[in-house]
Symmetry: C2
Subunit: 306 residues, 2 copies
Amino acid sequence: MINELVAKIQKTNAPIVVGLDPMLKYIPEHVTGKAYKEFGETLEGAAEAIWQFNKEIVDNIYDLIPAVKPQIAMYEQFGVEGMIAFKKTVDYCKEKGLVVIGDIKRGDIGSTSEAYAVGHLGKVQVGSKSCYGFNEDLATVNPYLGSDGVEPFIDVCKKEKKGIFILVKTSNPSSGEFQDRLIDGRPLYEIVGEKVAEWGAQHMGESYSYIGAVVGATYPEMGKALRKIMPKAYILVPGYGAQGGKGADLAHFFNEDGLGAIVNSSRGIIAAYKEEKYAGFGAENFGAASRAAVEDMQKDIASALK
Amino acid sequence: MINELVAKIQKTNAPIVVGLDPMLKYIPEHVTGKAYKEFGETLEGAAEAIWQFNKEIVDNIYDLIPAVKPQIAMYEQFGVEGMIAFKKTVDYCKEKGLVVIGDIKRGDIGSTSEAYAVGHLGKVQVGSKSCYGFNEDLATVNPYLGSDGVEPFIDVCKKEKKGIFILVKTSNPSSGEFQDRLIDGRPLYEIVGEKVAEWGAQHMGESYSYIGAVVGATYPEMGKALRKIMPKAYILVPGYGAQGGKGADLAHFFNEDGLGAIVNSSRGIIAAYKEEKYAGFGAENFGAASRAAVEDMQKDIASALK
């Protein structure tokens, strides 16, 4: 899947992943209104609204980008109904030829991590049959529990030719509370980065490893250091746009081959119609606004990488 | 909810939580066979089997214990169908008067952590209505992202009078890879423990905080140190029994009031009928075997606390 992701990035010339994180406040009233009319102001109504919203956006942008990243929390908040909308979104994006990164940030120990890995990336055995659960292409993983938590994911990834992105340095303001603490003079995120490189060597694709990392766009200097520590890891870069990361900051996350990173934008794309710049589209045409925002992001990143 | 948990622990004289982590290999053939006959060897069949298995165990033990801890990964591996079984299990346990700790180990940033908090412990706003998603009483949370990841949970807990247990020192063999690394001469888990005490002061119950910690039974000396660092935090202690933690190791996790810790056992209880000691019950009576195992665990812990 990492080879496929790299190929799609090269084909689209867009190292971009769109975060499908549909908060209800981003969804135009004509979409929520229709869903609530059919299903009421219920979990089912909310799930229908986010699914219709996602579908319209995906239909407008799928040919421009290699990948999407649904944030499962935004679905899980609506309980079982939300999980159904998550699964529909994953399946639909795959039908449209997009690589799907499940932003699940799971991580547990031994057989429990294995269950998450199987449920999101692999197949679970039921009697004599094996069945797919959510079946994303890649997923994000939390490293706090150490190798016991990560290796079951790697095992499933090897079987399925899938991959993971391990949280190394997250984009949020308080990420430094633990991640930046110095251990023998070096920050924890570098220690985690070294483990990512080590884990990554176990499951290499053609030019990059199936085991990647998450490093926030909001910390470009740390990105530069981590780029060197994990040369073969694809870096998933959140925090561009709405969170404050700028195109110019992104160059550090890429290798000299122009590859090695994929930049996420969520709000900036899916709620583009709410920004002044794209307000001309109107709420009715929110999908077209998202398309314009993707095109602008693609140009911004291309000029930063020149 | 922390006050209610403490009261139930005192009433049952059992600082015990039973982990409802139903792997298919633990479930007797008469249960899986019936489920597969009705729904096939499918995700639905698996979900029916784990739900029937849980129900039988809960019916046999609910009067002996204060709380259960379903591990969501064991449900999530079966996709949407598994999540339906998780929700049925949560609801049923609450009906039976049990406190339900969702072992979800979620953790993300800002609005994303808020979505997890709302989905598992609070109510989500849908138009003019607010709806419960999974509605556990307490949940486990991963601290790697720092305060941004934890505070949205605390906010929801304050509104709902619910609580969380934050991962501090996990029970697995490789937990030390990052958690034991020294920062200014002190291990990371102690730094996290200090933050738990700080976060806990924001949301106090009568004698304990709504903000607790997870510390593995497999590390009793670390438990002793952490007990002092977080005197008001309830400690959820996994790793007893099947993972190697012994009754005698547990005393360190408790305060002098005999409170302050709740010990989890999963496999040792729910798959008791597979152990030599309880084999006499037979697979048909797996629920009765679980009851005997709870009674033995209660005695083991009581004698360790004498």
